[in-house]
């Protein structure tokens, strides 16, 4: 392949674009760098740097409230990823294979689209009375569990993302493979498991990752549905913002950041081994 063509000539516009690109990266990373730097703050107040050290890490790990909120968040994120991936994959496969103009497919697309454009605060206030009605008044007690509430509400939020990603992934692939499997006598379940799922896998994985992060990030919705004992990490931080921020918040966030990056690196590595392409996954996510 010839290295580059007309596009490679460095004009002032190109140089300008390169500078812009680098500036945007700086803009995107500076606050993260600041948080990481301030996680080594030995002082009592996050924003006041008083000496370099690991105090914040040690006291963060020994703080039961912080640890339990992080654990709650991680549990909720894993649960959300599982629930929204199952429902979203079913929805995505159904939508991709729907006969043209089927009312249930158009309706589902519209409703899921609506979930995406509903402001989070509105979801929050609509879940609050509903959980009370269903969980307390109707006596469906699992819905009174804080973790279940978090997972259900977060999954509602990210289900549309998974559905649309899976649908997009399957839309480009025609049904011949599935037809062939059917002709060869595969049962519907085997066909789904051996043909449809592997084809949709990159989309499903992308969707699962998205739901995981969306859940981990969620603050507003969580602050409405949370129950005593199940305060997720962002809600803990948000309440600390109003009182006093200590360096422990930065320290634990740095730990989570490093863990997330490691997990993502691992996923990327596995994908590359499996012949996948990170750019494709990201594109699938963004499309």
């Amino acid at each position: 392949m010839p290295k580059k063509n007309t596009f490679a000539r460095r004009t002032p516009t190109d140089i300008g674009l390169h500078i812009w690109g680098i500036l945007v990266f700086v803009y995107l990373f500076v606050p993260i760098a600041v948080i990481i730097a301030y996680s080594f703050n030995n002082g009592k107040v996050l924003a006041n740097f008083r000496g370099f050290g690991l105090h914040a890490y040690i006291s963060g790990i020994n703080n039961d409230i912080i640890i339990s909120s992080i654990v709650t968040s991680l549990q909720a994120a894993v649960g959300t990823a599982i629930v929204s991936t199952i429902f979203g994959t079913l929805g995505g496969v159904a939508l991709a294979r729907a006969p043209r103009g089927a009312w249930w497919a158009l309706g589902l697309t519209a409703v899921l689209g609506l979930t995406l454009v509903t402001p989070e605060i509105v979801d929050g206030i609509s879940f609050l009375p509903w959980f009370v009605t269903v969980g307390v008044d109707w006596g469906i007690t699992p819905l009174n569990n804080g973790l279940v509430r978090l997972i259900i509400s977060h999954a509602m939020f990210s289900m549309a993302i998974v559905t649309f990603i899976v649908r997009a992934r399957l839309a480009g692939i025609d049904t011949q493979l599935e037809d062939a499997a059917a002709d060869l006598g595969a049962t519907p379940w085997n066909r789904f498991k051996d043909i449809t799922l592997p084809i949709a896998a990159p989309g499903i994985l992308a969707g699962a990752l998205m739901s995981f992060t969306v859940s981990l990030d969620n603050t507003i919705l969580s602050s409405f549905v949370q129950q005593p004992g199940y305060t997720p990490w962002p809600v803990y931080i948000f309440s600390a913002v109003r009182v006093a921020l200590r360096p422990e918040v930065a320290a634990m966030s740095t730990v989570m950041f490093v863990l997330t990056l490691a997990a993502l690196g691992f996923v990327g590595f596995v994908l590359r081994k499996a012949g996948g392409n990170a750019t494709e996954i990201i594109k699938t996510m963004a499309a």
Partner: protein, 322 residues
């Protein structure tokens, strides 16, 4: 005529024979409509019904100090009540921050995504894209705290700017609208970059090369090929940024303090502090409707712009015939 008529009579028999395989796959793969049932059930039970309940509540009232909602008498009275002077001013301030934030995100992301899709070599593009995603993988609240530290009057940035003489006094940005604006643009920027990148990337090198070959300059190629092809990305990016931004109040609370009140905060207060669900629900309805109106107006402006540019760009082929 007769030759075309004959085969027409045969297909029914053929179809009957091969019916099991010719059926749409949908009905054989458990039936696609049945497959959609769990998702349907979920959104009905956890989205449609709760949302309908909020709409219903917005017509109710607060009967006494200790009850959050009563719906035995329904009226529109909560809507004018919700639109108090302070709500209206916060509402417009929120709208200003959201619209300005969306525009700023677009202005920052457009050259950046173009650079990423066109100028960065494919080998490095994966890494660059992954880097764009990194802030996305860190907690949004924590990133906002990063800005709080940076913008604080006794923070390192303030000290440094004073020491090199850029500032006379301490940095006076934190807890102002400017700080909120910086924060929201920062928080929602990746949501603008990604769809734009995908759209520009999809527009493809070949079309641009064709444009150059046909004698168009760089500017003309950008305006007439790349930008129109990127339009779907612009639209989805703007939606992805504007809608959550308009309901967000976390960023504003962290960076705006008292002056950073957003509509979302007022709604939350009605539910958490004032315990007046009817007014809160009415405010929420106003928020949703206004969000939809802004999105609608945005689409209308876009269509108008497209029509105008199409007029301007239409090339007179012969004697003014477009």
């Amino acid at each position: 005529m007769s030759t075309t008529a004959r085969p027409k009579q045969q297909p029914p028999a053929e179809t009957r024979e091969t019916a099991p395989t010719k059926q749409p796959l949908a009905s054989r793969l458990f039936g696609a409509s049945a497959l959609s049932f769990p998702t349907w059930a979920y959104v009905v039970f956890f989205f449609i019904i709760p949302l309908a309940l909020v709409i219903f509540y917005s017509f109710g009232y607060k009967p006494d100090e200790f009850t959050a909602i009563a719906t035995d008498k329904l009226s529109f009275d909560r809507y004018p009540e919700a639109m108090s002077a302070s709500f209206v001013s916060t509402f417009f301030a929120t709208l200003r921050i959201s619209i300005l934030g969306t525009i700023l995100c677009l202005l920052i992301a457009l050259p950046f995504s173009y650079w990423l899709a066109v100028k960065v070599s494919p080998a490095r593009r994966s890494l660059a894209l992954a880097l764009v995603m990194v802030p996305f993988w860190t907690n949004f609240l924590v990133r906002t705290l990063g800005w709080q530290i940076m913008l604080s009057p006794d923070g390192f940035l303030s000290n440094w700017m004073q020491s090199i003489g850029m500032l006379d006094g301490p940095l006076d940005i934190l807890y102002t609208r400017t700080a909120v604006q910086i924060g929201v643009v920062y928080n929602y920027l990746p949501l603008m970059i990604l769809p734009l990148f995908v759209a520009i990337d999809a527009s493809g090198k070949r079309l641009r090369e064709a444009s150059y070959d046909l004698g168009a300059g760089k500017v003309k190629t950008f305006m007439r090929v790349t930008l129109p092809m990127a339009m779907p990305g612009v639209v989805s990016g703007c939606l992805l940024v504007f809608i959550p931004l308009n309901g967000d109040y976390v960023t504003a609370t962290v960076l705006g303090g008292a002056s950073g009140s957003m509509v979302g905060q007022l709604i939350a207060n009605q539910f958490n502090t004032a315990q007046n669900w009817a007014v809160g629900a009415a405010m929420a309805m106003i928020l949703i409707i206004s969000t939809l109106v802004v999105v609608g107006v945005g689409f209308a402006l876009l269509k108008l712009g497209q029509t105008i540019t199409a007029r301007l760009n239409s090339v007179p082929l012969q004697d003014g015939r477009a």
